[in-house]
Every structure is written in structure tokens, then in C-alpha cells.
Symmetry: C2
Subunit: 341 residues, 2 copies
């Protein structure tokens, strides 16, 4: 394996100069630099990251802890993080920590045990206070996405606001019988997403002077089958059927629409459905949705940690800060035509 010494010899300079020329740190004359670069590439030289990490203390790796990969939201975040990281010249170490205790400890051990990452990005991680302090004890930049992590700067959209916007959109279209299909407020891994979206919904109704009771809201699993099941129930009885539904997530909304279509209910003609996320499948179902860009959140988190790495002293926005996603009503997709009023 060709090392820095070979390059130095070929270029007729010292190892130090090669290091400076290739890393861009320190003064090197343009002429020398190009000679070194030529030598390096002709030899196919590449720095040994272990050697350079050993002396600099920097690994150029960022660890990502994520609870699942096989769901649109999480996969999107991961894609965004990966893209941003690669772009900035960092590598991504993936830790898919599931709920099982054994795996959790293993991951935390690895992180704490191996000093191989410069920073950590934690995605909707549900962790105990002690796990948090273990993370913090690393003394490395950390950013969270999607769930407030006590003591850790976290990114997420403004759920209350998003829900309110969605609901107001329906109200503006003339709907008065609007129902909310959301997640179970008592669910694990909630991070108050469900309760916040419910709150935004209720606030919007209230502002518009519309009544809200326990029939205005129903909880289900946060995926397509969840929405489907509930959709069949809600829409089965024509007398109780709302004219519009605000689903807390596109996946739920899609389930509802599938159910509706099977029942011969046309969306959006007979029933308006709006969701949050802008899930790619939405287009197929004529779904109106507020755009949440998990990939952008991922990119943002990367910015946060890298900025801390590269300009010491800089600190991300305070704990639990909430960065609103771009909320876009794709009105072209939504043409609700309420029967009521």
C-alpha cells in the first residue's frame, strides 16, 4: 500500500509538505502543490483515515441512530442525512436501534465504546434520561430529529400549526362536518405528535365556531391499514359520515381513501381528505396534503452538527426548538365539494 512517504519521494518534497498540499492546511506553493497532486494520483495514493484520525482526533464520521428504516418517514430522513453528509465529505455510520433491550445497550456501548464518530444524529429516539446523559457525555455535537430529546437540540415540524392549517383549509372550503383520524395519544414513541395534531385540529374547529365532541376524533395505527380499518368504520354509516377528514398522516389518509373508494364514495367529490407529509403515494389517490420534508430535516440536522464541528463555539438553536417544515397545500389535487352548506 503506497503511503505518504512514497508520494513525498516521487514529488521530491517532505512528508509534511505532501500532507499540507493534500489536506489544504498550511502554506504550499501552487507549483509544489500540483507536483504533489500529480505524484499522489499517479501512485494512486490515498490517506489512511486511521492514521490521520489518530493524530487529529477527527474521524469524519457521523453516527445516525434510527429506530426503523422501512417506513417512508424514516427512510426519507435517512436519505436526506446521507445526501448532506456525503456532500460535506463525511461518512455515515448507521445504527438501527430497535426496541429490544439487548440491541439498545449494544448500540449505546458501541457509541460510547469506540470513539469512532465525530457527531451523532438521533432520529425519533425514545431514550431514557440516562441514555441521554450517556450521549451527552460523549462531548460531541448531537442533533435530534422528530422527537424532543431532553437536553438535545431537536428538529421537528410544528405539529399544532400544521394540523391547524390542514383543518382550516377544509373549513375554508365550506366543510362543517370534519373528522380527525389520528394516532393514539397514549402510544409509545409518541413524542406528543398525536396530541399536538389533535390539538391543532380542535383549535381550528374552535376558532371557526364549529362544534367538536368525542365523535370528531378517532385514533388508529399510524399506517395504511390503520387508516383503512377506521375508514371502513367511519364511512360505513352514511348518516354519520363526515364531509371531510383530516388524517394525521398521509399513510392513514391513504388507507381512508382506499376504504372510501371501496364503499363507492368518491374522493374528493363526496369526501374531502387531507393529510400531512406529502407521501409519494398520495398522488395516486388524489390526496391533498401538507408537505413535510423529512429529508430536509435530515439535511438540517447535518448542518447543525457539522457547523459545530467546523466552527467551534457555534451552537444550534436551543433545546426543543421547532423548525417548521414547508407547509404546502397542493390545492390542485384537492377539490372538495361538500354536501353540507
Amino acid at each position: 500500500m503506497t503511503g505518504i512517504e512514497d508520494v513525498a519521494a516521487l514529488a521530491g518534497v517532505s512528508k509534511a509538505t505532501v500532507s499540507r498540499a493534500l489536506s489544504g492546511r498550511g502554506y504550499v506553493s501552487a507549483e509544489t502543490r500540483s507536483r504533489v497532486e500529480a505524484a499522489a494520483s499517479s501512485l494512486g495514493y490515498v490517506v489512511s483515515s486511521s492514521a490521520s484520525s489518530l493524530v487529529t482526533g477527527r474521524t469524519n464520521n457521523v453516527g445516525v441512530i434510527i429506530p426503523m428504516i422501512n417506513q417512508w418517514f424514516f427512510a426519507s430522513i435517512l436519505e436526506g442525512v446521507e445526501r448532506a453528509l456525503l456532500d460535506r465529505g463525511y461518512d455515515l455510520m448507521l445504527y438501527n436501534v430497535t426496541k429490544t433491550e439487548a440491541e439498545r445497550t449494544k448500540v449505546f456501548e458501541y457509541f460510547l465504546v469506540r470513539k469512532r464518530v465525530d457527531a451523532v444524529i438521533a432520529v425519533t429516539l425514545e431514550i431514557t434520561p440516562e441514555e441521554t446523559s450517556q450521549l451527552l457525555a460523549l462531548g460531541k455535537p448531537i442533533a435530534g430529529i422528530g422527537g424532543p430529546l431532553e437536553g438535545i437540540p431537536t428538529l421537528s415540524i410544528d405539529d399544532v400549526e400544521a394540523a391547524r392549517l390542514a383543518t382550516e383549509h377544509l373549513i375554508l372550503l365550506g366543510h362543517r362536518e370534519i373528522m380527525h383520524v389520528g394516532g393514539d395519544v397514549h402510544e409509545q414513541m409518541d413524542f406528543h405528535v398525536h396530541s399536538k395534531r389533535l390539538r391543532g385540529f380542535l383549535e381550528a374547529l374552535q376558532s371557526a365556531g364549529l362544534p367538536a365532541d368525542e365523535h370528531s376524533y378517532v385514533a388508529t395505527r399510524f399506517d395504511i391499514p390503520g387508516g383503512y380499518t377506521v375508514g371502513k368504520q367511519i364511512l360505513g354509516d352514511p348518516r354519520r359520515r363526515p364531509t371531510a377528514i383530516f388524517a394525521a398522516a398521509d399513510e392513514v389518509a391513504i388507507g381512508v381513501i382506499i376504504a372510501a373508494r371501496e364503499l363507492g364514495i368518491s374522493v374528493p367529490d363526496d369526501l374531502s381528505v387531507i393529510g400531512i407529509d406529502n407521501h409519494p403515494l398520495g398522488a395516486m389517490f388524489g390526496l391533498t396534503s401538507l408537505e413535510q420534508r423529512p429529508d430536509l430535516q435530515g439535511e438540517q440536522a447535518v448542518e447543525w452538527v457539522i457547523r459545530q464541528l467546523e466552527q467551534p463555539g457555534w451552537a444550534p438553536p436551543p433545546v426543543h426548538s421547532v423548525v417548521p417544515a414547508r407547509l404546502v397545500i397542493r390545492s390542485s389535487t384537492a377539490r372538495p365539494r361538500p354536501r353540507a352548506s
Copy 2:
């Protein structure tokens, strides 16, 4: 940061002994070992991976190159790979290489440039011969999943056989008008999956003495919307409608079923649909499916590369070897009742 020297001092032994005790390599008396371990954990000592990599030449990292994350098949592989790697004590470096040229070269540069992985797993990577040789030139264990990579041991299911099994299942149930909805044979990133599944389908028909013409097969995009679009076309005309459909992937099958239900066609009563993959959403649509376990392929690939790492001399099965997935007909879900004979 506490180093090996501190541990040695506290345990009253030399650095060398600490190293042996903690790494498990070399002779250390049981008594000494436990003293060292106690010292290490009381100090919260962890080895510096850069230092140890520098001297051993091993990083304990495996690189994974994958073209996309946000799709069931790919995410499943990634989950399987991650699980297996974590289990064996390796870390996973993720490289999501999309089609854009810039990103590709960047990834390949990183791999070639940084010597930070011990092995590489390439998922359905469509690479040029020179990229292949770049990979091979790394001189590190490599395994591919899903697409035959010239010169690289690759895992995939037996597509022809899977398609044949699925089709035979329908034939056995009495169907004679069976249609295949598959991917476009001329598609990029094909790896012959589409043509192989088509071939298996045709062979099954032929063996059963059933006719097959150009109307027996239709190509579409390999996802839910793709299946939906085609479903509407195929099933719209009651006279041409087949009694059964073999979809080349569950996602396509699900699209077809959604279309069928909207048309008032009951699955599986009026129409049998079978797919390949055992996609989790299948259950919601009463879909019969052959089980493909991408996560298991991921785990297998990990075994291959790690085995090469840990027992030099061992070699994985020859190039392009095909490992059949577990093919499970979930007959409980499928109750086709053909109108024809």
C-alpha cells in the same frame, strides 16, 4: 480521555497485557484478565479504533452501497444487513448511490480513497465494468445482492423458479386465463429480474399446456401506482378480464387489487391475484404471495464477507450464484374461485 496506559497503571500490569486481556488475543491469566477488566470498566476505558486500526489494518467497518432506501425491498435488505453486522460487532457505513454521475464518482472515490472499510456489500448496483474493477481492486471481500455483478459473488432469489411456482399455484387452483403483470424488460436496473419472472410464468403455462400470447403479459412500473394503472386497464373490460393475475411483485399486485376493488371486483372471489415478496401491506388486501426475504439476503451477504474476513482462504460460492429465498404460499390468504372451469 483515558487510554490504555491508565488502565495498565491501575491494574498494575503493562500496556501489552491490557491489550491482550481486552482483545482476547494472546495468553493472559484469568486472574490478570479480570483485574484488567475491572480497571478498564472502572475508568470507563474504551479502545481508540483509529489507533487499533492503524496497527492492525482492520477497521471493523463494512461499507454498504445501495441505490435507494425508500422502498420496501431495499429498506428490508438494509435492515437485515445492519442487524447482522451489529450482531457480529461490525459497524455499517452507508453509501446511498443514486444515478447522478457526480454522486457515483464521489462514492467510488470515497471507497477507493479512504481505506476505511474491511469489506463491501453492493445492493442491486448497476455498475460499469471499470467501476467493478475499481471495487475488486480494493482487494477486500465483496458481496452483491439482487443483481449479478460481473466477477462478484452475488445473492438473489431464483426468479424463474419463483415465477413458475406462483403461476403453477394459480393453475392448480383451476385457472386457465392467467395474466402476468411485470416490469418492463427493457428497463434500466433490470438485472433480468423482469425477463426471468416472465420466463418462469411462460414456462409454467407451457408445461400445463395453456396458451400464451402477447395478451398474457403486460409491463408496468414496479410499484403500487404501476399496478393500479394497469389494473384499471386490464380489468375494465369484463370480456377480456382474466380470472387470475400473477404480478411480478407484491407492490404491483397491491395496485392491481386496489383497482379491482374500485371496479367492484372481489379479490379473491372474482379474481385471484398472486405476487412475489410478501410485502407487509399484502395482508390488508388478502394477497397471496411468495415470500422473498430481502433481510435474509442481507444477513447472508454479511455472513459471506465476514467469513472471508475472519477465516482467510474461505471463498463464497462462485460468481452469480443464486440462493433461493424461502418460497411460502400463504394459502390461507388465497381462496381463488375461478369462474372458468
